[in-house]
């Protein structure tokens, strides 16, 4: 540390304006007491001779930054405590069937039978764990997506942090894919893991054997595939909306409006005109339709399954195209 000498002269006074007057002198000014400031730390440039990791190391850094922020309070991307609290509530809420299965295994007789019929493994419950409208697709999954995905790209647009990425050896493909993957991982961890836990809990708590697993695993896999489709679709739509906005609030509300609004509008039109085709505009209903086929349930929709599948594919393609286009337009140096 360098000490500042107390006797050090702090400046000089020049009163040049005190002399003379006349032509040109009326613009004169006095400069007084300019004080140089002391530096109170030692500034040393230290070289660094380490080696930089390859592409996957950089990509993993992006992934880690976004995913770890959910569970750690600091050091990574900041998620508001309310977001993390909501996430916890959603996780606990999606695990309530496991609690009911536990209760079912603890009782015997009619009580156990009732609990098992209501919450045990069957086609309806496996489908409902992923694609049931209330509470999961009305209150939980869209809210989860809006909170997690809303700020992923919009924050970079707002804060200019895209420059941190693109002035480094990060390609736009790496940036986009890692952002997408980190969002999908969080959604997948909540939606798919709780689904897997539910099925595993049913097997463990009821003491089921291999024959039970062999019987139910195709339905379980159908539900899992529907879950993967849901995570993919919600992530794609959410991140596309995030990429066209500079506000995470706008992106989140847009996502909720799109998913919930399209469902409500389609429902009102179905009541009025007795047609289900308008459900093709609703991401949830397209997923629900395809999910019913995957799990083997009779469909709730009058239109062909293929049309819902095509609509789902188009929604994903459109979302990814918007996302790619907006990422391509992110600037390093603002014009």
């Amino acid at each position: 540390m360098t000490e500042v000498d107390g006797d050090m002269p702090l400046g000089e006074t020049r009163i040049e304006a005190a002399y003379g007057s006349g032509d040109g002198d009326n613009t004169s000014t006095a400069t007084v007491a300019s004080a140089p400031k002391g530096q109170i730390f030692e500034q040393i440039y230290r070289p660094w001779n380490g080696t930089l990791g390859p592409r996957w190391v950089r990509n993993y850094a992006i992934y880690r930054h976004h995913v770890y922020g959910i569970v750690t309070g600091s050091g990574h991307r900041r998620y508001h405590p309310f977001v993390r609290l909501t996430l916890l509530v959603v996780i606990l809420g999606s695990m309530t069937p496991i609690l009911m299965l536990l209760l079912s295994s603890m009782f015997s007789g009619d009580a156990s039978g009732f609990l098992n019929r209501m919450w045990g493994v069957n086609r309806y419950n496996l489908w409902g764990n992923i694609l049931g409208y209330f509470p999961r697709n009305l209150c939980m999954w869209p809210l989860l997506t809006a909170l997690v995905v809303g700020g992923l790209v919009s924050d970079d647009r707002k804060n200019g942090t895209s420059a941190i990425y693109f002035s480094r050896p990060i390609s736009r493909l790496d940036y986009a894919s890692m952002k997408w993957l980190s969002a999908a991982s969080v959604l997948g961890a909540v939606i798919l893991l709780t689904y897997i836990m539910y099925y595993s809990a049913a097997v463990v708590f009821k003491g089921e054997g291999w024959s039970y697993i062999a019987d139910t695993i195709p339905i379980f896999m159908g539900g899992l595939t529907a879950g993967i489709l849901l995570v993919f679709t919600y992530t794609s739509i959410g991140i596309a909306l995030s990429s066209i906005s500079t506000s995470r609030f706008t992106a989140s509300v847009s996502f909720l409006g799109l998913v919930l609004g399209s469902k409500i509008v389609a429902w009102l039109i179905e009541i009025q005109f007795e047609t289900t085709y308008i459900y093709l505009l609703s991401p949830y209903d397209c997923l629900a339709h395809v999910g019913q086929w995957l799990v083997g349930l009779p469909p709730n929709y009058n239109h062909p399954l293929a049309v819902s599948a095509v609509s789902l594919i188009l929604m994903n393609l459109a979302s990814l195209a918007v996302f790619a286009s907006r990422v391509a337009s992110l600037e390093v140096t603002r014009e």
Binding site: D23, Q43, S167, T333
Partner: protein, 305 residues
């Protein structure tokens, strides 16, 4: 090219080590030049290399060897300074433990040692600029690009930033390429300068050498009778630039000094200070722009400067 607009045209640059200042009015192509060097935009014609790497095909390799300090805010306000710099290092491929250690070092270097655990949203403009600098030197780059590094800084923060950049050149041994609208900043850090206008290089070279090409002047400070002296000098064929009681007279030789003294004697003006004026970068810039005007088409317009 940006659509039909030619952003950079016939640029031919060879930049060595040390400080290099990039000057030019808005829209002259400074940012586009940076993007080309960073390998972020595909050039339609020609080529180039940075640190021996082709800017067309080896953009990522180039960007891992250089540091870029953006002009505008590019920091996550929710992160602490040490986390932001660490993340910037990790995005280059540094191991997390190395990046953490290095972020402490560079934050100490840029004067934020005591503030490193504060969130960036609580930082002043000067501290944000220092954090951006720390992010750009976290991997000890061979070339550091600074886009308007003193933007929005007060006098003391500005001086600290310039001193830090100078020290980065002298102790880091690399190259600092900076743009600024403040000529004093460029002159304070860089020995070399490149001036752009309408996508073309209009001048490049050492500042000292460029300054020598400017018309030399004698600067005098006159008390009383300045107008009479000015009129006398103009009547006797001398070129005079006047700023209040300060006058700059074109230096043609020893006879200029004799003429000034003779004029002062004739008009009764008091010459309090008489010295040879040393032109700075501001003078060079203004002169070049004045000569270019709006009709400049090529760097050949500057012949004879």
């Amino acid at each position: 090219m940006y659509g039909p607009h030619v952003a950079l045209d016939g640029i031919n640059l060879k930049l060595g080590t040390g400080g290099v200042g990039i000057l030019g009015p808005n829209g002259s192509g400074k940012s586009t030049l940076f993007k080309c060097i960073l390998g972020l935009i595909r050039i339609t014609e020609g080529g180039g290399s940075v640190l021996g790497r082709n800017i067309v095909t080896m953009g990522p390799e180039i960007r891992s060897k250089i540091g870029y300090m953006a002009e505008y805010d590019c920091l996550d306000p929710g992160l602490t300074a040490v986390d932001q710099v660490r993340y910037a290092g990790e995005l280059l491929g540094m191991r997390p433990d190395h990046a953490t250690q290095r972020s402490h070092e560079v934050l100490q270097y840029v004067g934020l040692e005591d503030q490193r655990y504060r969130k960036i949203e609580t930082f002043s403009t000067g501290m944000r600029q220092a954090t951006k600098l720390a992010c750009s030197i976290v991997h000890d780059p061979e070339i550091l690009f600074c886009d308007e590094p003193t933007n929005g800084l007060d006098a003391s923060a500005r001086q600290f930033m310039l001193d830090t950049l100078k020290r980065t050149i002298s102790e880091g041994g690399g190259t600092v390429i900076m743009t600024s609208h403040v000529m004093e900043d460029i002159q304070g850090v860089c020995e070399n300068v490149v001036m752009l206008s309408e996508g073309k290089v209009v001048i490049q070279g050492r500042i000292e050498e460029l300054a020598n090409q400017i018309t030399r002047e004698i600067e005098i400070s006159v008390w009383g009778g300045a107008t009479k002296l000015e009129e006398w000098l103009l009547m006797n064929g001398h070129r005079v630039r006047r700023m209040g009681r300060i006058m700059r007279v074109e230096h043609k030789g020893d006879e200029t000094i004799h003429a000034i003294l003779q004029g002062a004697s004739s008009t009764g003006a008091q010459v309090r200070v008489l010295k040879e004026y040393e032109p700075d970068l501001e003078d060079i810039f203004l002169l070049i722009m004045q000569r270019l005007g709006q009709s400049a088409k090529a760097s050949s317009d500057l012949e004879g400067v």
